[in-house]
Structures are given as structure tokens and as C-alpha cells.
């Protein structure tokens, strides 16, 4: 099963550190607009960080009129910068807004998992807010959490009525 970078909106505090670490690692610049991961602060609901989710049937690849995008065996979307001319069709096709236009090079950039050395995940200060995981693991964690919550509420209610 493919693995991806998953942000937990209950744990993310919206500090944007992942963005700056990404832009520093990939573009040697502290400019969050060059980052391939983006935090969205939607107060008061919460915060979340979004990056490429490596779709099984990537709409971005299909949308590219110049065949500049290609998905490799790990699911990573690779950009052929010689073919990309910055038309932005892939940005419009992506449901997650995970693709970024490089403002200077005018080609798109997408999370490439940093060859396994995930700097955003490593530098996230909050435990379990940003993890690299497969979806089954994520589902397992969510199940556990909801069960704990349900049980606590149940225990709380029975104690309250006693």
C-alpha cells in the first residue's frame, strides 16, 4: 500500500514550520510560496497541512497537455522541467491544491518525498501532527482514537449517572 504524508488536524497548530523547511530543503530559500507542502489555517475549525497524496489515478498527469508529468513506481509525480511550460492545467486538476507553480522558473513543483529523507515530517514539532504513513495505519489510529473517545464518554456518563 502506498505511503503518504498525513497531517492530523487535531494536532496541527498551524505554525508553518513544515513550509519553511520544505522551501529551504528544495529551493534553498525561506519562502513559503516555494514550498511543496501548504498549511491551511481555517479558523476556528483548525489547521491542516496538505501536500501531494500520490493518487492511484492522478488527474494532474492526465491533465498535462505536454506529457510533462509522470508517476513513478512509488507514486511520486515527477515533473520534466524541459517539457513543462507552466500552463497550470495540473494545478487546476488537482483536488488538493497540492501542486505549486514556481514563481521564478515558471514550472510546477510537487512533493517528491525527498528521496525518503522527509524533512517536513522530521521537523514538525508536534507529536503525530505530521506523519509518513500508509492509509491502513492512519485508519487504524483513527479507529483507536474514536474507540477511546467513545469509551471515555461512556465511562463519564455512567459515572455521572451514578
Amino acid at each position: 500500500m502506498r505511503k503518504l504524508i498525513v497531517c492530523d488536524p487535531d494536532r496541527c497548530v498551524g505554525c508553518q514550520i513544515c513550509e519553511f523547511v520544505c522551501s529551504t530543503a528544495k529551493e534553498k530559500s525561506i519562502d513559503s510560496s516555494l514550498s511543496r507542502i501548504h498549511t491551511v489555517n481555517y479558523e476556528p475549525l483548525g489547521n491542516i497541512a496538505l501536500s501531494c497524496v500520490f493518487c492511484e489515478k492522478p488527474a494532474c498527469v492526465a491533465a498535462c497537455p505536454r506529457k510533462a508529468l509522470h508517476q513513478n513506481e512509488k507514486g511520486v509525480i515527477q515533473v520534466d522541467e524541459t517539457k513543462c511550460n507552466g500552463c497550470g492545467w495540473c494545478i487546476r486538476a488537482c483536488d488538493f491544491g497540492a501542486i505549486t507553480m514556481h514563481p521564478i522558473k515558471n514550472v510546477v513543483s510537487i512533493c517528491d518525498l525527498c528521496d525518503g529523507e522527509l524533512k517536513c515530517v522530521k521537523s514538525c514539532p508536534f507529536e503525530d501532527a505530521l506523519i509518513y504513513s500508509d492509509l491502513e495505519e492512519v485508519a487504524h489510529k483513527l479507529r483507536r482514537r474514536s474507540v477511546v473517545k467513545l469509551l471515555q464518554e461512556f465511562v463519564g456518563k455512567t459515572q455521572g449517572s451514578a
Binding site: 497548530v13 498551524g14 505554525c15 508553518q16 514550520i17 519553511f20 523547511v21 529551504t24 534553498k28 530559500s29 525561506i30 519562502d31 513559503s32 510560496s33 489555517n41 481555517y42 479558523e43 476556528p44 483548525g46 489547521n47 521537523s123 514539532p125 508536534f126
Partner: protein, 658 residues
């Protein structure tokens, strides 16, 4: 209508290089250049605001009148990704104290304002009808705010955001309290960031300015971007360093509320309007209790920071508390609990929520409520005055109602909305004796009989009773800062002791006073730097240099801090502040009644001796408390000395030697 600068910022690095001036009377909008020399001398934030307000305000003006100006300024580090770099300052002549007014907020507004194209905004005049400012990428509009006037703070923010149709817009606004010119009104920025003190919300209210909305995508040019990236990465590699030596992990888990238990344990928790120092009901309202209560629904952070000290609390019973407004911090919690003897956590959270809904400073409100309770106890105000409200100590239903009355200026609330000082003068009959304020600003929650340096800081702070001029003595006991000469040789453990009140302590407080003036101008969050946090002053200097291309040294920065401190003092001197105003409430001369420091007082002679030493270290006239010409000239503030001399405030005779 709008006058725009031609591009001038080719050379200006680290800043946007522009100041926006908005005149609400004439609706004239103009851009001014931020001169690099001014930037280096005053940095930004408090420094820049002090420069602007000293130069432009006439002494003696009505803070709620047409002539007052509101300045919102970012600093050189605002917006540079590094923990603590997301602050901005709000400044004006304070309607609460009639002197220098400043308050600093953190969060997303400051960086957004800078990226919208401006290092600072100056708001002048008064609009004929309610308006808000909409600033986006150097486009500025004065927009009609009649549909948000009268609305609660967050409601107004949401309506403005939906009007603007950009979710990333940051809105700073006042609530109904600011509109009603409650003198302790605050300005709320976004979800949970507040410029709370000195009543600056009332200044916005007096100008019919409901809100300022900003959105920016412009970029700041930096001299050495790679260096800034290196500094951030180095910081991230050392996570404990930002949380600092003081509260390694507690700042995230419990937040500033960790203080509450600490002061209780060490017998210095201001209780019952500073009459007592141990709160019997503390366990019911402590930070640990809150953390375990299940009330905390969310932690939030400022940009670039991994401390995430903010928390939001939600309660359904016995009070309905909206988490969008209930952000408990130590000062808020203690002011509204121990100080008023309230031991009901939900009620305290409700009171905090109401303060933020209506836009009122929680610290001042708590002190005012405690003052009212003491008046009630002493029979100075009666049930008739309060329209039936029973203001007995610890009555939480009454507290919650009282907060709303103050916010709406209803009944007794109308008197209390004037602040403790004015209310006590009006009530008279000895009420002034237990009005806990310095220069009109209600005291924060630190028991200065058990920390002598901090007492001096309260009395000499430029904005009145303030705990952010210099930190509490306890923090210096364990933390040194050799870069600015605070080391074991100069300041051995014995003189850093919290009860020590000798000349070395005064010197320590002078040095750190300058340092904090610098922090407020850069503008950095004080929880990330000495003595609370782990960011070194050398690192701050590196950030400034990497951003601007300057080569400032620590000693230049410290001198800048002193310059800013003295400029604010000069502003106050012009407003009539002299030595007689640098004093503590009389209650502190009485001994502490209980706890580990039982019997400890702050005798007047000890205080006067400290004050003498403080003035002589600062180069101020000992009789008047006015900075001397020599000192001002040394700080390159000759023009300030000229201005004070014209007003007859600097004595022509040479300073009297000790």
C-alpha cells in the same frame, strides 16, 4: 485619493520601507518612506512608534480626541520564519493612563501587514461614520463598517472576512467595549491574539475605526536569505532551546498557567486585591486542573513557532463558554480568579470569554472587579450602586454580570469602565489607598513584595504598572546572559536573589529594561528570548544583520534599547510624569500576611533608595525623573532634549550630584 511612493526600496533590506498614513477625517491616504537611518536607530515596533508619536503628538492632548494617533508597527524580524518573530505593536497616547500607551500582539496579523506592503500604519483623525481599513498589497480602502459596528469581536471579524472574500485575510478589531470607549478596551487580532493593555481599543473606537483588515503577498527583500534559512534550521534542530530553561515542556501542556501554581507554591499569588498571597481555592482553577478538565479543545500556535502556548477552552455547564473567545493565560486567569477569590473554573473562563467578546483587557478587568469587591466590602459602594449585584468576594455569578456591565457601561459598570484610578478618585473616602495601579494602569498579577526588582519595574515602566518591562526576579535567579554582562562575576547568585534590593539588582533591571525595549522594537515574543526562552541575543543580532545587511553589534542593540526606553520616558515627561509618579500602591508597604514570605514588605525607604540608584544609572535627574540633556545627547536624542527644554522640562542647571 491615494498618494503612492515611487519605488524607493531598492536599498531597504529587511523592511518593506514604507509607512502608510491614513487620515480618517479627510480620507486622505498616503505612503511615506521609512528612512534607513530611522530604522537603524529605532528598529521598529515600540521604537518606531515612540519616534512617530513623540514627533507628531502635541503634549496634553485628549487621548480620545481628534489629535491622538494610532500606530501599528511591525519590526525588522516580523515575518522572518523563526520562532517568536510574528509580533507587532499597537501604540497611541493611552486613554487609560494619559501617557505612553503600547501593547504587543502576536500571531498572523503582523507578518500579513508587512507582506501587504507596510512596516507601519499611522491612523489619524476621526471618521464621520463607522469604518474599517482594508489593506492588501499596497491597495488601501476605507470601507463602511456600519453593519459590523456593535458586533462582538469575532463576529465582526467573520463578517469582514466574508465581505472581502479572502480566507487568509487577517483582521484586527475592537468590540462593543472599544466602541463605548471603555478605557480598558483591547484590540483583538484574529482568533486569539490580543493587544490588551492601556486601552488602545478605545482609541480605535474614538476614531470610529472598527477594524483593520490586511492581506499581503508582497515579499520582503533580505540581504542574506541563506543565512536566515541556516538560522531557522539550526533552531529547529534544537527544539528544547526555544521552549527555554524555564518551562521545558509545560509551556505547551499548561501554558503560562504554570505560573499560577508556582506563585501559589511560593506564597506570592496575588489574592483578594493584593491583600493576601495564598489562594485557598487555587486547586479548583489551576492550570493543571484546566489541563485535566477536558475544557481545552485546541492548542494553537503563532506562525514559525513550535511552542504553541495558546489554548482554547469550551465549557457547557454551569456556564456556556465559547472556545472562540476563551483563551486562558496566567494573567487573565489570576486576575479573574484569585484576585477576586473566585474558585469556579467555568465562571473564570466565562469572564475571560466575555472580556474577549466585548474586547476588554482581562488583567485590568480583573483588577477593577477586585477593587469593586473591596469597595463593596468596605461599604464604599452598596447594593444600591450595583443595582442589586452582590459583590461579595468570591461571588462568581456577580463577577460574570459585572464584567458585562463594565463592557456595556451599564450602571456601576459605567464608573468602573473608567479604570481603577479614575473610579477610585470618584469614589474617594480612602478608595485610592487600595486602587492597585501604577500611573493608572492596573497591576498585573505579580506580588512585588516577594520580588523587589520587579517592584521597581512596575513603578518605572513607561506604560504604567506593567510586568513586561522586565521579567520577574525569579527568572533571573537561574538564568544568566553573559553576552550583555549578566554573568556570575557581575551578578552573583546572592544579588540575583528575588528579595535582594541592592544596587546590583537595580543595575540588572536597568540592563534588562533596555533589552526588553529592544525586544519590543524588533519585535520578538518575550517567551522565546532571555530570560524565559532559549534564543540567544547573538542569534537575534545575526537575524537582524542577515535581514538588513547591517553589522549591528550587541552593544549597539543595547544602546538602541536604552534610546527607545528614554524616548518613551521623554514622551511621558512631556505629559507631566515626574518622580512623584514613579511609585507603588501603598498596600505594598504592608507586610505579607502569610506563606513562606510572611512579614516581607516593600518599605518606602528601600523603594526610594532603589529609585535613586535607578535614576542615576539611567542618567535621569534625581529630583524630577527627567532624562538629562547629556544622557539624551549620548543616545543621539538631542532633538528630544531641545523639545523638552523648550517646554521648560529640562532644568538648565547641571544635574545635582549624589
Amino acid at each position: 485619493m491615494s498618494e503612492k511612493l515611487k519605488e524607493v526600496r531598492e536599498k531597504m533590506l529587511g523592511y518593506m520601507g514604507r509607512i502608510l498614513r491614513v487620515n480618517l477625517t479627510s480620507e486622505k491616504l498616503s505612503e511615506e518612506q521609512l528612512n534607513e537611518e530611522v530604522a537603524r536607530k529605532f528598529i521598529g515596533g515600540r521604537g518606531l512608534g515612540a519616534k512617530i508619536l513623540f514627533d507628531e503628538l502635541k503634549p496634553g492632548i485628549d487621548p480620545l480626541g481628534l489629535e491622538n494617533k494610532l500606530v501599528i508597527a511591525t519590526g525588522v524580524v516580523t515575518g522572518i520564519p523563526f520562532p517568536g518573530n510574528s509580533c507587532h505593536s499597537v501604540m497611541a497616547k493611552s486613554p487609560l493612563t494619559n501617557i505612553w500607551g503600547e501593547s504587543h500582539a502576536k500571531g498572523f496579523f503582523g507578518p500579513e501587514l508587512k507582506h501587504a506592503g507596510y512596516d507601519a500604519i499611522i491612523v489619524e483623525g476621526k471618521a464621520t461614520k463607522p469604518v474599517y481599513l482594508w489593506i492588501h498589497d499596497r491597495e488601501v480602502e476605507i470601507k463602511d463598517a456600519s453593519n459590523v459596528w456593535g458586533r462582538l469581536t469575532r463576529e465582526a471579524q467573520k463578517i469582514i472576512r466574508s465581505e472581502i472574500k479572502d480566507e487568509a485575510t487577517q483582521v484586527g478589531c475592537i468590540g462593543p467595549a472599544g466602541e463605548k470607549l471603555v478605557r480598558t478596551a483591547n484590540v483583538l487580532f484574529g482568533f486569539n491574539h490580543v493587544a490588551g493593555r492601556t486601552g488602545l481599543g478605545a482609541v480605535m473606537g474614538s476614531k470610529n475605526l472598527k477594524a483593520i483588515a490586511v492581506r499581503g503577498t508582497l515579499k520582503v527583500k533580505y540581504a542574506h536569505k541563506e543565512k536566515l534559512a541556516d538560522l531557522l534550521l539550526a533552531k529547529l534542530a534544537d527544539k528544547e532551546a526555544v521552549r527555554g530553561p524555564y518551562w521545558p515542556d509545560a509551556l505547551y501542556k499548561i501554558g503560562s498557567l504554570a505560573d499560577f501554581s508556582y506563585w501559589q507554591a511560593t506564597g506570592r499569588l496575588p489574592t483578594m486585591n493584593f491583600r493576601k498571597c495564598l489562594f485557598p481555592g487555587y486547586e479548583a482553577v489551576s492550570g493543571e486542573t484546566l489541563a485535566a478538565s477536558g475544557y481545552v479543545v485546541r492548542h494553537t500556535s503563532c506562525p514559525y513557532c513550535y511552542v504553541a502556548c495558546n489554548r482554547a477552552a469550551e465549557v457547557h455547564h454551569p456556564y456556556e463558554v465559547d472556545p472562540e473567545y476563551a483563551m486562558p493565560e496566567y494573567e487573565s486567569l489570576a486576575a479573574l480568579s484569585s484576585l477576586c477569590m473566585i474558585d469556579n473554573l467555568a465562571a473564570v473562563l466565562k469572564a475571560i470569554e466575555l472580556c474577549n467578546k466585548y474586547g476588554m483587557d482581562t488583567v485590568s478587568t480583573g483588577v477593577i472587579a477586585a477593587f469593586a469587591m473591596e469597595c463593596y466590602e468596605k461599604g464604599l459602594i452598596t447594593k444600591e450602586d450595583t443595582e442589586g449585584l452582590d459583590l461579595t468576594w468570591g461571588n462568581h455569578q456577580s463577577l460574570v454580570q459585572l464584567v458585562e456591565k463594565i463592557a456595556r457601561r451599564e450602571g456601576i459598570g459605567n464608573l468602573l469602565a473608567e479604570g481603577t484610578k479614575r473610579a477610585s478618585e470618584k469614589i474617594g473616602r480612602g478608595a485610592e489607598e487600595f486602587a492597585m495601579h501604577v500611573k493608572g494602569l492596573e497591576l498585573p498579577l505579580h506580588e512585588v513584595r516577594g520580588m523587589k526588582g520587579h517592584g521597581l519595574a512596575y513603578a518605572t515602566s513607561n506604560r504604567g504598572g506593567c510586568h513586561l518591562q522586565v521579567e520577574t526576579d525569579d527568572l533571573f535567579e537561574g538564568n544568566l546572559c553573559p553576552e550583555i554582562g549578566i554573568d556570575e562575576t557581575n551578578f552573583p547568585q546572592s544579588v540575583r536573589d528575588k528579595l535582594y534590593a541592592g544596587p546590583e539588582k537595580v543595575k540588572l533591571y536597568k540592563i534588562v529594561g533596555d533589552l526588553f525595549a529592544l525586544f519590543d522594537s524588533l519585535v520578538v515574543c518575550k517567551w522565546t528570548v532571555y530570560p524565559c526562552g532559549g534564543t540567544k541575543i547573538t542569534t537575534l543580532a545575526e537575524i537582524v544583520n542577515a535581514a538588513t545587511g547591517w553589522n549591528v553589534t550587541i552593544s549597539e542593540l543595547m544602546k538602541t534599547g536604552e534610546r527607545i526606553f528614554d524616548l518613551c520616558r521623554a514622551f511621558n515627561v512631556r505629559e507631566g510624569i515626574t518622580r512623584k509618579d514613579d511609585k507603588l500602591p501603598k498596600r505594598f508597604t504592608e507586610p505579607l500576611p502569610e506563606g513562606p514570605y510572611k512579614g516581607e514588605a516593600f518599605p518606602e525607604e528601600v523603594f526610594e533608595r532603589m529609585l535613586n540608584q535607578f535614576y542615576s544609572l539611567r542618567g535621569w535627574n534625581k529630583e524630577t525623573g527627567v532624562p538629562t540633556r547629556e544622557k539624551l545627547e549620548e543616545l543621539e536624542l538631542g532633538y528630544v532634549a531641545d523639545s523638552l527644554e523648550t517646554l521648560g522640562l529640562i532644568l538648565p542647571s547641571p544635574q545635582i550630584k549624589e
